[in-house]
């Protein structure tokens, strides 16, 4: 009898160990090929609540994903044979979120030097030929931790200098920069010259400057002139190249990689992002862009609400990165930054919300939108501000940002409101590929949570 009991115990132990090893194996195999590239297939998410963003919500609908795209959406969408079915009962489907203010893939650990890796900033002031696309690291741990919180696309931008370089628009999935980038050269990034940073009241810049305002203005204007001259040179370079291409008798101008990289931007075929926060900087950037016939986007925009009518009149979009920033000035109202998105929206300014974080905190994008919604922005608008609006600002409104047939299938399936911190993500699709919900963080959690 006791022998039998011993056998039973042994069997129980074996089963226990077997199940432990299976689950451990699952955890590690999740970090395998599917972690990098997802799993391609035809999928049907059934009986889910669908927040299309562009149109009305669908209460009990189906979404069909095929060949990387959303093939059909509706209460009675027909499901192709062989589609893998996902039970969406009790769940909600949203388009993936998009953050236009990041440096994802360019930076792993903020700390500079040999201990981290940082590829955000080239040497010198003028680097339009530096392309984020070239330095994108698909194996950055931030890619995984960001997307499992529902952010599926981002603009990854270089930083520093006067012209930082060219940003890439990426989906957060893929083993190579080529697989990730939807638009490898998506925008030129310019730090629009200002009078010195920071706030501190109407006279705040004196505090930062500790010098003479006339000198500060001269220095700023000199930088703007430098920028103006460079862009005019690029225009001329483009014309000379075109002319030489049409007329073989003309001498072909020497190749200049800096000027060549600027040509699409001075011709207004691609957008130029101006980092600018204070009202006079934003105004200056917009006026400069009009003078040079550029296609401007303001990144930062802390004070944009103060000149909202001007921005609306000039139809310049703002990527708002400061929702959670402390107010710039001592006498600002406590909620001045929380409220600014709502004010821009009410004034009819095109805008979207971004974390403005290089990498680690991009996953907090939904909470920034949520804070704006707590302070005056309608909830539906807050959702658009992190989905459809950023897509539209980048000229990708026909491919991303909402749940519509034909769009890229970047979808997030949740058990609640996408913007709430308590909400869990249950399924994730990027480029129509199902992405396992694992990251460096879930991996370390699995490794240590049951340590006895």
């Amino acid at each position: 009898m006791s022998k039998r009991a011993n056998y039973l115990l042994l069997i129980v132990f074996c089963l226990l160990f077997a199940s432990v090893s299976v689950s451990a194996q699952q955890a590690s195999s999740n970090m395998g090929p599917e972690f990098m590239d997802g799993r391609a297939g035809t999928y049907a998410i059934r009986n889910a609540h669908i927040v299309t963003v562009s149109g009305a919500d669908i209460d009990n609908g189906t979404i069909v994903i095929r060949d990387g795209r959303i093939q059909a959406v509706g209460a009675s969408a027909s499901v192709p044979a062989g589609a893998q079915s996902i039970d969406g009962r009790g769940l909600t489907v949203y388009p993936g979120m998009i953050d236009l203010g990041t440096s994802l893939g360019l930076i792993e650990i903020t700390e500079n030097g040999a201990t981290g890796w940082v590829d955000t900033q080239e040497v010198g002031e003028i680097n339009p030929n530096s392309m984020a696309f070239v330095s994108l690291n698909p194996h950055s741990a931030h890619i995984g931790t960001t997307r499992v919180n529902g952010v599926t696309s981002a603009l990854s931008a270089p930083q520093g200098g006067l012209i930082s370089g060219q940003a890439a628009f990426i989906n957060l999935l893929g083993s190579t920069p080529d697989a990730m980038a939807l638009v490898p050269q998506a925008a030129l990034v310019v730090n629009f010259p200002g009078l010195g940073g920071g706030g501190g009241g109407p006279f705040g810049f004196f505090g930062q400057q500790q010098g003479n305002i006339t000198e500060a203005i001269t220095a700023r204007n000199r930088q703007i002139d430098q920028l103006r001259k460079l862009l005019r040179d690029a225009e001329a370079y483009g014309r000379a190249q075109d002319a030489a291409a049409q007329d073989k008798n003309l001498p072909r101008p020497d190749v200049d990689v800096v000027l060549a990289s600027l040509v699409p931007y001075v011709r207004g075929t691609r957008p130029v992002i101006f980092r600018a926060d204070r009202d006079h900087e934003i105004r200056g950037a917009v006026q400069f862009a009009e003078e040079m016939k550029l296609k401007p986007i303001i990144l930062g925009g802390d004070d944009a609400w103060k000149i909202a009518p001007f921005l609306k009149e000039h139809n310049v979009p703002v990527v708002l990165t400061g929702v959670l920033n402390l107010p710039r000035r001592e006498d600002d109202y406590y909620d001045v930054q929380y409220e600014s998105a709502g004010k821009l929206q009410a004034a009819g300014v095109r805008f979207c919300i971004s974390t403005g974080d290089t990498a680690a905190d991009v996953r907090s994008l939904p909470y920034q939108a949520g804070m704006a919604a707590a302070f005056g922005l309608a909830k539906a608008e807050a959702l658009k501000a992190v989905t459809l609006y950023p897509a539209q600002i980048m000229g990708l409104g026909d491919r991303l940002g909402s749940i519509e047939p034909g769009k890229i299938a970047n979808l997030v399936v949740t058990d609640g409101d996408l913007l709430e911190a308590r909400t869990n993500i249950r399924y994730l699709f990027i480029n129509g590929r199902q992405v396992p919900l694992v990251s460096r963080h879930t991996e370390l959690n699995e490794q240590f949570k049951n340590r006895k």
Binding site: T145, G201, I213, D331, A421, R440
Partner: protein, 486 residues
Amino acid sequence: MRKLCAIFLLLALLAPGWSLPARAQGRRAGGTRAESAAAGDTLIRNATILTASHGTLQNADILIRNGKITAVGPNLKAPDSARVIDATGKFVTPGIVDCHSHTMLDAINEGSLSVTSMARIRDVLNPTAPNIYRELAGGVTTINALHGSANSIGGQNAVLKLRYGHPAADFVFQGAPPGIKFALGENPKRSNGFNLPGTPRRYPATRMGVEETIRDAFIRARNYKRGWDDYRAAQTRGDKTAIAPRRDIQLEPLVEVLEGKRYVHSHCYRADEIVMLLRIADEFGFKVRTFQHVLEGYKVAKEIAAHGAGASVFADSWGYKLEAYDAIPYNAAIMTRAGVVVSVNSDSDERARRLNIDAAKTMKYGGLSEEEALRTITLNAAIQLGIDKWVGSVDVGKDADLVIWTSHPFSVYARVEQTYIDGTVYFDRTQDLARRADMEREREQLEKAEANRPAGDGPPPGAPRGRRPASHHADDEDTDGGNDNR
């Protein structure tokens, strides 16, 4: 120059919060706990109360008398004179206790020596810092004001109630046990910091040296304590020839640590340095009260639990330097399940304004219950600071430090309506909004006056140099994840 100073002074006076009713009542929350009980009676009616100690009460009332919570429950009777706040549809929580803050500090690192236990935070409080008000507007009522992490032993902390509008001395939390900041890992090493060429580097420069620095300090403190013990014993024996040891204000706080009278709050990241400090504590016979940040605490949760130390963490900050690369948002949940008392802190004037959302993240990452999550920013932090008999939960007898929210405090859509300390309103959104038209008018008048316009054509003068910073950036010298610059 003098005129410009005057303008700044006027603008500072304009800052929100200065005309709070609390201030109009004059100096009130004075030096002693008994004295701080002057507020009128208040009845908060018909709220959803998240008590943090005994669950959630629906449609319940809270009676506040003399700054204390005197009753909690349905259909309470209030004296006729009591102010009644209708909180129907609203949520009430205890005031948030932020267990790691540098708010209202004019300085945080005495970076000359690595053992500066004599330096006191309460000597550098700036009671006019605007971020105090901004944090009240996020529901924070008590903070643990700590030194930075430049030194192995940084200095004496101050537990403060955010009694904005009062002099600095009134902020001090009466009865809170004293504490001291320690720091382990990269920051006290200073090896990554700037060093003038030709000057020697400050010791320590490795984790080995940090351990040795702390050990050396405690060896000296132990000897110092023996000297005093021997002297007192001799006095008791009636030995008139005994000579008192020379007083040492660097070692006195460490003797208090050895005697269990002063809490150790230690900045740390990596698992190895956490167990290092546990070894030292065991060797010298003291307890580590809290590990701060403790990013890899989840790797040694059982060791921390066995020692009885608390852990005060970021909700989800990570990757801002190499020693923060293994930080995971599951940290709070794993340590909680291992039996550690865990709090979630800000270490940032910015993040302190939304600790409610950081607490909510502990439900998502690791599945803490709603009450466990709420405790990370209230009761657990109060326990870690030894002030839980006064604050940290909605219980009869505790200080009336309360927050009224428009919706569930874990919702991103929630806003703080009112924040109470000792029954007095220190933030009221309705009043804040009502003041704005007046403030705009006043601002316009001041700007029109152009008091600093220069005579003639010369450039305007620069700003006064000695001006206090509007906010302290903890990461100026001390990169421990404060995201103030974001």
